[in-house]
């Protein structure tokens, strides 16, 4: 059923959240790395710039429905991160169409963009605007972020006085303050101590229950099997199998054991 539906759709459906049609990404790699301007000019004059291209993704068709929990499996270099980049608008595909409905959680490393000289409060505003939030939206959530991050009186102190755990907690609190329509879970969360990790997982579960679409990338086949409804297995930039999570996990396990 599921495999069939993905091949026959050319337009996003009413209940689609993510829709990819014949999406391909071609990276161009110079045969020899040209990293300097000087070298580039010399090569240009000599007419010696050769590029080798390779397809990081090739003809990806994918339709994910609202509220689905979808798993992505594949070895390193199979194209998983390129697929996530295309979905989160970081990369414009070389060919094909990417269609999305709703806002997407960032692939951001927690706390990227923090400034050590600014106070915790100022950093909340900076970080949240980097995530595309408006000032009023941030004001609304400010107290909640401070409480969740367990920063307390340190909120007016410059960030350089924070412990690494406090910085990570603040980063997570900002990144997860707003319920995304599409949540990307890449690798396992490792923020702060065990108690805080439980709090993080609880919040993630809350997002899922509130109807967010979840895209989960994991190396753990068991994790995909137990949490996801559907999944795909990516290899060499192509979808090998896309089906119910159980079927995909079986196929992938079989492939790995060969």
């Amino acid at each position: 059923m599921h495999t069939m539906s993905n091949n026959s759709i050319n337009e996003p459906q009413q209940d689609s959240t993510i829709f990819l049609n014949k999406v391909s990404v071609k990276y161009r790699i110079p045969n020899e790395a040209i990293n300097t301007f000087k070298e580039y000019i010399i090569r240009l004059v000599q007419g010696k710039i050769n590029h080798r291209s390779f397809w990081a993704l090739k003809d990806i068709d994918l339709e994910i429905k609202q509220g689905e929990i979808f798993g992505i499996l594949g070895r390193n270099g199979a194209g998983k991160s390129t697929l996530l980049k295309v979905i989160s608008r970081i990369l414009i595909p070389t060919e094909g169409r990417v269609w999305l409905k709703g806002n997407i959680s960032p692939l951001l490393q927690l706390g990227a963009g923090f400034h050590p000289e600014l106070s915790g409060r100022e950093n909340i505003f900076l970080n949240a605007t980097l995530l595309g939030r408006k000032r009023e939206e941030i004001n609304e959530k400010l107290e909640e972020i401070i409480t969740f991050a367990e920063i307390g009186d340190f909120i007016e102190a410059p960030l350089r006085t924070y412990s690494s755990g406090m910085q990570a907690r603040l980063g997570f609190a900002v990144a997860s303050a707003w319920t995304p329509d599409i949540l990307i879970l890449d690798e396992v969360l490792s923020v702060g101590d065990a108690a805080f990790q439980d709090k993080c997982l609880e919040r993630m579960a809350g997002f899922r229950d509130s109807g967010a679409t979840v895209l989960m990338v994991s190396h753990s086949i068991d994790r995909i099997r137990t949490t996801c409804e559907r999944a795909l297995w990516l290899d060499h930039g192509k979808i090998q199998v896309i089906d119910l999570a159980d079927e995909v996990c079986n196929a992938y396990t079989e492939f790995l054991s060969i």
Binding site: K101, E122, L130, R135
Partner: protein
């Protein structure tokens, strides 16, 4: 909110709209640049004023023996220096902000011009602060401030537009070739000596019948600034047109170049 990669407008227009949507981010970045700069220094804001003043003093002492005391030399040098400092510092900082920003661009979607634009705007705030020592020198040199000074904001917009255009151009070059960041300060030094910043205008007028001035886009921008505040008259229409065309021409070239190249920033691992 729906995103469709096939229904995008021209990259230059798309970027302009995205920047408007992310205006709160621009505000936060400008604020960060200014607050962070002054937070850990005792004299704080005063440095922005003392720095060009100090350089001017050195120039006046050194060059008053070389040239036979050009008219209003102190104000001339200071006026030129603050314009040049705004241009050279803001473009260099914008270029470096792209290096910092490129890590973020690989992780989240942001308008690609946001770091360059915010850096230039923050530098403009510093430029406005450095007008204070210039006013002081005008006072000391007994140069009266004429009504033409009211047009100063227009010449500042030229300076802003030109700096932004160049910043976008050099930032995209630096994104592809990291060593361009090492080359740029050298280019800037050469450019400064080709521009009437420190040496009097007459010195350049004598070289190749002033051709060196006419091919130098920055001359038009610094020229109009000095006329308005030091010479104290409203220049001819052609002086305005020359400054407007160079500055906005540079902005359009820089914007187009940057936006057409920015899609491939993320491809450039």
């Amino acid at each position: 909110m729906i995103y469709d990669s096939t229904k995008r407008k021209h990259p230059a227009i798309e970027e302009l709209l995205a920047l408007f949507r992310y205006r709160d981010l621009i505000y936060q970045l400008v604020r960060r640049d200014i607050v962070a700069r002054y937070k850990r220094s005792i004299l704080g804001v005063a440095w922005t004023m003392l720095n060009p003043l100090g350089t001017m003093l050195i120039m006046v002492v050194v060059f008053s023996h070389v040239f036979d005391r050009a008219e209003n030399y102190a104000a001339y040098v200071l006026g030129g220096l603050i314009c040049w400092t705004m241009f050279s510092q803001s473009t260099s900082m914008a270029m470096n902000s792209m290096v910092w920003g490129s890590q973020l661009f690989r992780q989240i979607y942001l308008p690609r011009t946001s770091f360059v634009v915010s850096t230039i705007l923050a530098s403009m705030v510093n430029f406005i602060l450095s007008l204070v020592p210039l006013g002081l020198i005008l006072l000391i040199s007994k140069i009266p401030i004429k009504p033409s000074a009211l047009l100063l904001p227009v010449s500042m917009i030229f300076l802003l537009a030109f700096s932004l255009g160049v910043a976008l151009l050099v930032s995209s070059l630096a994104a592809f070739f990291p060593d361009f960041a090492d080359l740029y300060p050298v280019l800037l030094t050469a450019w400064m000596y080709l521009t009437p910043i420190i040496m009097p205008l007459d010195f350049y007028r004598e070289i190749l019948n002033g051709a060196l001035l006419y091919i130098n886009p920055f001359y038009y921008i610094v020229n109009i600034f000095r006329i308005l505040i030091i010479d104290g008259f409203v220049p001819h229409l052609q002086t305005w047109v020359a400054a407007a065309v160079t500055s906005f021409g540079m902005l359009v070239i820089g914007w187009l170049f940057f936006c057409l190249k920015s899609d491939s920033f993320a491809y450039h691992v």
